[in-house]
């Protein structure tokens, strides 16, 4: 398998894809590693979206606001919002992770175990009960079935 330094729970610099071009690398952006798996001889990450923009209004399932203190504990200087409904499925490659080959691999922090459990349960719940709420980006798709 390709070398994969990313584990579920990591916050990592990525070239997170934009909606306008979902299969291509986008600007540098911190993503949350929801899942990290081996696929054949390669490594693939399911990367959830983060933003420092505060959420306004009622948060739907899968959206979490992280305050300044908690953010600092995860290596980030500002409060942020984690949106587990928006996920990019991307290969572990420098095209998608600009600091892959650097020391630390672009990992800025890691969610504590307590929150990883919460986020895991949320992801599982979303894909099983509210799949229509998920916005999927990234180049990796299943083979079309006839």
């Amino acid at each position: 398998m390709s070398s994969n330094p990313y584990s579920a729970g990591d916050f990592v610099w990525s070239h997170y894809p934009q909606r306008e071009n979902p299969a291509r690398p986008g600007p540098r952006h911190i993503g949350y590693v929801a899942a990290s798996v081996g696929v054949g001889g390669a490594a693939v990450v399911w990367l959830a979206y983060t933003t420092s923009q505060p959420w306004t209004g009622t948060r739907p399932p899968g959206v979490y606001s992280v305050d300044r203190d908690a953010a600092a504990g995860m290596g980030q200087s500002r409060p942020f919002t984690l949106d587990l409904r928006r996920v990019a499925v991307v290969p572990v490659a420098a095209e998608w992770f600009p600091d892959l080959d650097a020391s630390g691999h672009g990992i800025v922090g890691r969610a504590p175990e307590r929150l990883r459990l919460v986020y895991e349960a949320a992801v599982t719940g979303l894909v099983r009960r509210h799949p229509d709420n998920i916005e999927r980006l990234g180049p990796l798709v299943p083979r079309p079935r006839c």
Partner: protein
């Protein structure tokens, strides 16, 4: 259902303006069908059986979702 459609997050709010250059090769990316291959989940150091199973269940749920298209 998402009952807050008017609160969608802005696009790449805190992105840095260094887009990947056009024509960046997507080696593995050009592999439709890749998610059909067998998946493996590495066990993390010190991870309990229960935690590992839980994580695998989440990955299985993701794959089931992905393969539904």
């Amino acid at each position: 259902m998402d009952d807050t459609p008017h609160h969608a997050l802005p696009q790449s709010h805190d992105a840095e303006p260094d887009l990947a250059p056009p024509g960046t090769p997507l080696h593995i990316a050009a592999a439709p069908g890749m998610l059909d291959a067998e998946h493996t989940v590495d066990r993390e150091p010190g991870e309990s059986d229960e935690r590992y199973r839980s994580r695998c269940e989440m990955v299985a749920a993701l794959l089931e979702y992905a393969r539904r298209g």
